[in-house]
């Protein structure tokens, strides 16, 4: 991968750098104000007092904006070949032709490709690179941007608000069923940089959308930082399925924030796979604010050598008859550390709500670690809450059984791990499922294919 950066900011963060970013994007004043306010919050906020150890992350050495040597194009032909190749290796242009309604592809700090099928445009669906949306639909964006994740939420939300760049904006008008998924893919190609894409999805009444997010990066000896933000507004009766396969390089700090608000009878479905990065803190949250709103989670965290992945789910039941269902699984192997942090809060007014949380952790060997910390707070006595947790080592008898059928020990472990992760894998688009199985095989020296 060659360095395509034509321009980038100097390392660290100050008002001048923020002005530079804002001006290069021709932003309206209100957005620049958000950035400036965020900067203040960032400078005044302490690091989180839980989760992973980020003392080795030197924010003064992170380059917060790196412009790729490419414009945002609507045809892959126009994307420079060296950048395009990276996305072709990931199979993205092919998947777009076969099974996607739209694709965004970000390299470093900017989208290099963003396009949607004509049929969807005719239905009034808006799918734009986030910065473009700020310029072209300022009123719509302003109504939602960083309302669910306010810049003063925590230190890395503030950092995001100050330096965000790229990402995707989607608006689906009422009663539109987007027939195929839309996908955005984020690649980090430069050493020592931070990526801060912003995803804002608004799905209006009675509509349906499936969105897929993929991330990966080039591994470097210096630290990279990812602090994206995802805000999803599910309006009355709408359904959003948001799937993520995160496979950042192992030098990356992934301190990411995702939140959805769900109105009456709406549904948010989170499919989330965290496997890359050195350290991750990620807790997709669902705010069930309308009567009958629902949240479903199928998440896996896959922590290998040198990784500390602190992930979880948060559900806030604020209205009656809301429901949530969480299936969260983690694998730790080769000294990896997986931590599940869950919260279900059922407010006093959220009567007749239902929640079931199932979190399980599988440790493949004696050097790996796993913890679960599920917190459930129920403020009324007319709700049904269920919780199951399992933390355990891989079962020797299972390995023996599989080996007695001719599988090597490595194959047996890989197969058990795959089986454990099956509820997640079968939710994935085919090419991701294949890729995921390939990665498991690789980690366990297995050749089960």
């Amino acid at each position: 991968m060659t360095n395509n950066a034509l321009s980038k900011t100097e390392p660290g963060l100050n008002r001048r750098i923020i002005e530079e970013i804002s001006e290069s994007k021709n932003e309206p004043l209100w957005m620049k104000d958000i950035r400036m306010k965020s900067l203040e919050y960032f400078l005044n906020r302490p690091n989180p007092n839980f989760g992973v150890d980020i003392s080795a992350l030197d924010l003064n050495s992170i380059v917060n904006y790196v412009k790729p040597g490419a414009q945002n194009e609507r045809s892959w032909e126009d994307v420079p070949e060296d950048i395009r190749e990276n996305f072709e290796k990931l199979g993205i242009p092919q998947a777009e032709r076969e099974a996607l309604a739209g694709v965004g592809a970000q390299y470093d700090s900017e989208m290099v490709y963003h396009n949607m099928k004509e049929s969807l445009k005719k239905l009034g669906v808006i799918f734009l690179e986030m910065g473009t949306a700020v310029r072209e639909y300022p009123d719509l964006v302003k109504k939602y941007f960083m309302h669910l994740i306010p810049p003063n939420d925590h230190k890395f939300a503030a950092l995001h608000g100050a330096v965000w760049s790229g990402g995707t904006f989607i608006y689906v008008p009422p009663n539109v069923n987007v027939p195929m998924p839309i996908q955005s893919y984020y690649l980090m190609g430069s050493p020592g940089m931070g990526q801060f894409e912003h995803t804002l999805i608004v799905v209006d009444k009675g509509s349906k959308l499936e969105f897929i997010e993929g991330c990966s990066g080039q591994n470097y000896s210096v630290s990279n930082l990812h602090a994206g933000a995802v805000e999803i507004y599910v309006e009355e009766g709408a359904t959003v399925k948001f799937s993520t396969i995160e496979n950042w390089a192992k030098n990356t700090y992934n301190l990411n924030t995702k939140r959805a608000s769900v109105d009456k009878d709406g549904t948010i479905i989170w499919i989330s796979g965290t496997m890359g990065s050195a350290k991750t803190m990620l807790y997709p949250s669902s705010i069930l604010k309308g009567k009958g709103a629902r949240a479903e989670y199928t998440t896996i965290t896959y922590a290998g050598p040198g990784q500390h992945l602190d992930t979880g789910t948060k559900v806030f039941h604020f209205a009656p008859y809301t429901s949530s269902k969480v299936d969260s699984r983690s694998i730790s192997f080769g000294g990896g550390y997986a931590f599940y942090r869950g919260l279900v809060r059922v407010s006093e007014s959220a009567i007749h709500s239902k929640s079931s949380v199932d979190c399980s952790a599988l440790m493949v060997d004696n050097v790996s670690k796993s913890d679960t910390l599920p917190i459930i707070e129920v403020m009324n006595n007319q709700s049904e809450i269920g919780h199951e947790a399992y933390v355990g080592k891989i079962n020797e008898d299972q390995i023996y059984y599989l080996m007695s059928r001719g599988l090597t020990e490595d194959d047996a472990k890989a197969l058990i791990v795959r089986g454990f992760l099956d509820p997640f894998i079968k939710q994935l688009p085919f090419e991701y499922a294949v890729e995921f199985n390939r990665i498991i095989d690789m980690h366990f020296n297995s050749k089960i294919g």
């Binding site: 059984y401 599989l402 080996m403 059928r405 001719g406 020990e409 197969l415 058990i416 089986g419 992760l421």
Partner: protein, 245 residues
């Protein structure tokens, strides 16, 4: 042809000796029944032949087709053609029976290339012969199987993987008479191509269907007596104490 030859085998779990000098030779095509009281070490003997790492061989020898297998891992022994059926087979969540079996088949028979469809056809035929619902193949391995389904699942694997010797651990226990007949027929079919069988059982019942050439009485870690089917009959009449000497 001598398939497996066990010579003065001793094995322990922890510090405790559980196999105390077993001698047994099984030729191709032969069916051997091993009968004995609970806790005598019959299941342990099967585990030791298969190489279960819970047990440690302290002395003696196990030859398979003339070569020692004591230094081989469990999967290497399996790939030589040794098959163990389990009384309580493990559940593997998230892995379908079909995928698991296809994988196992590829490991056991790397030279035989079968397409997914061909393999599927073969499995359906075997499932039919065992009067098993085809949906069974789509279910997760042994997950939530009834006692009878587990036994059938083990015999289905045996039929599919086509080993040289089957070590069957109480395959008959907990089966009603119809299921017993079906399972026995499965074993007999599998042994048509020369497969040898070592069948551990408590009851003579299955030996009416799977006919052994030899019956061995196994007590306290050793074979104490060997004979033909008449030995099983004697056992049924008189119990283990009488046949001891």
């Amino acid at each position: 042809m001598e398939l497996i030859k066990i010579i003065d085998l001793h094995a322990s779990i922890g510090e405790k000796e559980v196999i105390k000098g077993v001698n047994l030779t099984v030729n191709r095509n032969e069916i051997h029944a091993i009968m004995g009281p609970n806790g005598a070490g019959k299941t342990t003997l099967i585990n030791v032949i298969m190489g279960n790492p819970k047990y440690r061989v302290t002395s003696g020898e196990i030859l398979f087709e003339g070569k020692s297998i004591l230094n081989l891992s469990v999967d290497e022994r399996a790939r030589l053609g040794i098959f163990q059926s389990f009384q309580y087979p493990e559940e593997i969540s998230g892995v379908t029976f079909m995928n698991f079996l296809r994988l196992a088949y590829e490991k056991m028979h790397p030279d035989q290339k079968m397409s997914v469809l061909e393999f599927g056809d073969m499995m359906v035929k075997i499932a039919d012969s065992l009067k098993m619902d085809h949906n069974f193949l789509k279910r997760y391995v042994n997950l939530g199987f009834s006692g009878g389904e587990r036994k059938k699942s083990e015999i289905l694997q045996l039929s599919a993987l086509n080993p040289k010797i089957a070590l069957l651990d109480e395959t008959d226990s907990g089966l009603d008479i119809d299921a017993l007949k079906i399972v026995s027929e499965g074993i007999n079919n599998a042994s048509k191509n020369g497969m040898a069988v070592v069948l551990v059982t408590h009851y003579k019942r299955i030996l009416d269907y799977v006919k052994p050439k030899f019956v061995h009485i196994f007590i306290d870690g050793r074979i104490v007596k060997t004979g033909g089917i008449e030995l099983a009959e004697e056992l049924e009449r008189n119990g283990y104490e009488e046949v001891r000497i």
